[in-house]
Amino acid sequence: MNGIVRQKLREARGRLVGNTFLQSSAWALLAGLSAVVVLRGVALAGHREVLIAVPWVLALPLVAAWVFAIFRWRSMGEVAREVDARMGTKDRFSTEWQVTEETPWTAALHREVAVYAETLSLRKNLRLPFPGRNFLWLVIPLLALLGLESFHRLRVAGLADELAGARQILDEAQKAAATQKENPEVAQAAKEIAQAIKNLPDSNEPLRDALRALAELERKLSSAGGPDALSPAETAALAEALAGSSPQLAAELQSGDHQRAAESVAKLDSEALAKALEQAAKHLESRKLQELAQNQQARQQLGSILKSSKGDGNGQGRKKFLSALRDIKQGTGGESGEGENSGEEGDPNDAPNGGEKPESGLADNAPPGGAPGSEKDLGQGADLGGGNPALSEAGGPEEFVAGQMGDGASLVEMLRAAGGDDPAARRAWKSAYQSAAPAALDAVSQEEIPAGSRLLVKRYFEAIRPKD
């Protein structure tokens, strides 16, 4: 084969590869964008981490299209045939490619094809066409993506108030962390809060997620004191119980000087310690303190617990931060729990039932029905004051006082059926709902009650809403 013919075929091959790539890249991009739409949908459903795959799902189909284009034109014979078919070269290149024997006729053929090829402009005749029609298909995933984004924006706009509330809670937590930034655990917690703030715009339930993040932080920080360590609440309750019999030990416990407290515990009378433990256990309904109180070796065991716990300055910082978190979560540390943005569910680590209580300090505050602010909060806990100093300093046991029915306005109406197909019942139910639900929701949003309880009421009314 003549050199110039070979050169032209090589040039044609490059153009054909480019052409095929352009054509197939439309389909590749279509596949990639469709995958991006799916990934975006998954991300909006809460799995934001899948977005890391976006560059890959776009790049991989394009690479595959390029590989396909090269594979398609791997044979120079195919290129020659395509050039003949597209450029009307009267099968010169494919004949030239196939002729192998050397005769005067083939020599004349080579010469004629070479002269022809020399004057042939591939750039002019084998132009890379823009595959416009194929690219029109890309409009579909782009529209889908646009639709998803619009939906997301609308939803974010709808959640603006809730988002603001959630951001406020986390900002409060971040501020609280900033005051204890010398504590490495709190500094780490501050980073996690910053991450939670960053994730808020993509959240479907920002307030709930914010509270969940805080609850998770509380859990981590509470468990950071050691598996057997006394929680801050237990320590405080014990210090309070010991205030009468051993003021020095109480002061050491309150100041967080656990090493000295351990030494003081060793010197303390076993009976006095058991009594104090019993009182603190009763106060907090703490199983750990109860067990300690019933233990013959309580003095030694408490000493070792205090020795092993981090009762230094760091522990103090963590304790303060934990206390601040609890306040924020219960709506007393800032404005987060007020207004209409208080539809949060509460701590996901709440005790699932009223019997068992977890060992962490946070959980120790949880009433039998669940932690404050949770859906299971029945308002029977020891921490009804929500950290109110006046309440916590009040002496004597706290009692559960049942509310009196009929003190406020009430609506009682007997309906034949709440649902079903009976139109009369449906109408009656709708009417009753429309008069009762707004009043109830107004009441829970104005009253100082745990945010989770607001959500509970809100969800209840959503659940019984009549069908349209």
Binding site: A85, G88, K90, D91, R92, S94, T95, Q98, V99, T103, P104, W105, T106, A107, A108, L109, R111, E112
Partner: protein, 327 residues
């Protein structure tokens, strides 16, 4: 033969072809496609069947070719009572100078370079078949004696598609002997004006004679044009597409064709394509060259079945469908 020799021979061929064409076109008006077909058949050593209404210049075309090429020309007007001996000749009893009588072969009009078989479908099949041996074998046998035809020998037969009464359709075997079947179309208005100007005035144009010194060499040159297998495959594909019982056949052929084109059809395609390639200045055959000759080379080799005839399907329709196949 060297490369330069091939190139000079090809140039000589183009020159001869164009000269003949120019000479014929100087006399005939509006028949350039038919002239091209007849000349192609001439250089391919084939025969051509011209089909067209009376008065379209078929006879003039053949006469002009003979005149332009400086070859012998004879004409046979086919009639129902025409006998084979009227075409190929017969043995006559002649008396020599010694008074002895003997048989002497008196050659018929077939012994010429160019034979015009005018209205060939008016003769009986027996007479039509008298041409078979001459057309294919280039010789005739009379009383056991073989008589070789003149070279070149070209039969140009005409037939009238309008008048079917008193005609005998050509047998398939004879139709297959024709390299091309050319359809002479009615001239356009401009051409008609030109015909009138040339034929009704006092000055009739004369046909110039082209000297064909190396006609045999030029014909051999045509046959030596190389065809690669992939290009040849196009001719095979087209021919097989007309066969109803073949997997390669097109739907119309499957439904309406009784017999497809014979191998002579493929030979005709390749030969004509070779001439087209040479005329285009190429030394190889292209698929376009083959496609261009499908209708004239194959249309008379396809026999439609009863359904095809009843539905009015034509061989051209089948061939156009075959041409539409991917190459």
């Amino acid at each position: 033969m060297s490369t330069e020799s091939v190139e000079s021979h090809a140039a000589e061929f183009r020159e001869a072809f164009h000269s003949l064409r120019t000479a014929m076109e100087s006399f005939l008006v509006g028949q350039s496609e038919i002239i091209h077909g007849v000349l192609t058949a001439f250089f391919a050593e084939g025969h051509a069947l011209l089909e067209g209404a009376p008065g379209l210049g078929k006879t003039a075309l053949v006469r002009t070719l003979a005149s332009a090429a400086g070859l012998d020309f004879s004409r046979i007007q086919f009639t129902p009572d025409l006998m084979p001996s009227d075409i190929i000749g017969t043995n006559l009893i002649v008396e020599d100078e010694h008074g002895r009588k003997r048989f002497q072969f008196e050659p018929g009009p077939v012994f010429s370079n160019i034979l015009l078989a005018d209205e060939i479908n008016r003769a009986t099949p027996k007479t039509q078949s008298a041409l078979l041996e001459a057309m294919q074998e280039r010789h005739v046998t009379v009383a056991g004696v073989q008589h070789t035809m003149k070279r070149p020998f070209l039969v140009l037969a005409t037939q009238n598609p309008i008048e079917m009464e008193g005609t005998y359709p050509l047998p398939e075997a004879q139709l297959d002997r024709f390299l091309l079947k050319l359809q002479v179309e009615y001239p356009g208005a401009d051409d008609l004006h030109e015909i009138l100007a040339r034929t009704t005035g006092d000055h009739a144009p004369e046909v110039g004679t082209v000297k064909l010194e190396n006609l045999t060499g030029l014909r051999e040159l045509v046959r030596s044009v190389p065809v690669v297998r992939e290009i040849e495959a196009r001719a095979v594909q087209l021919v097989l597409a007309t066969h109803p019982d073949r997997a390669e056949s097109v739907p119309l052929a499957k439904k309406y064709v009784r017999y497809g084109a014979s191998p002579r059809g493929a030979q005709a395609l390749i030969l004509c394509a070779k001439i087209s390639a040479l005329l285009d200045g190429r030394f190889h055959v292209a698929k376009d060259d083959i496609d261009a000759w499908v209708l004239p080379a194959l249309r008379h080799r396809i026999i439609l079945n009863f359904e095809g005839e009843a539905e009015g399907v034509t061989a051209e329709a089948v061939l156009k469908e075959a041409l539409a196949q991917p190459r």
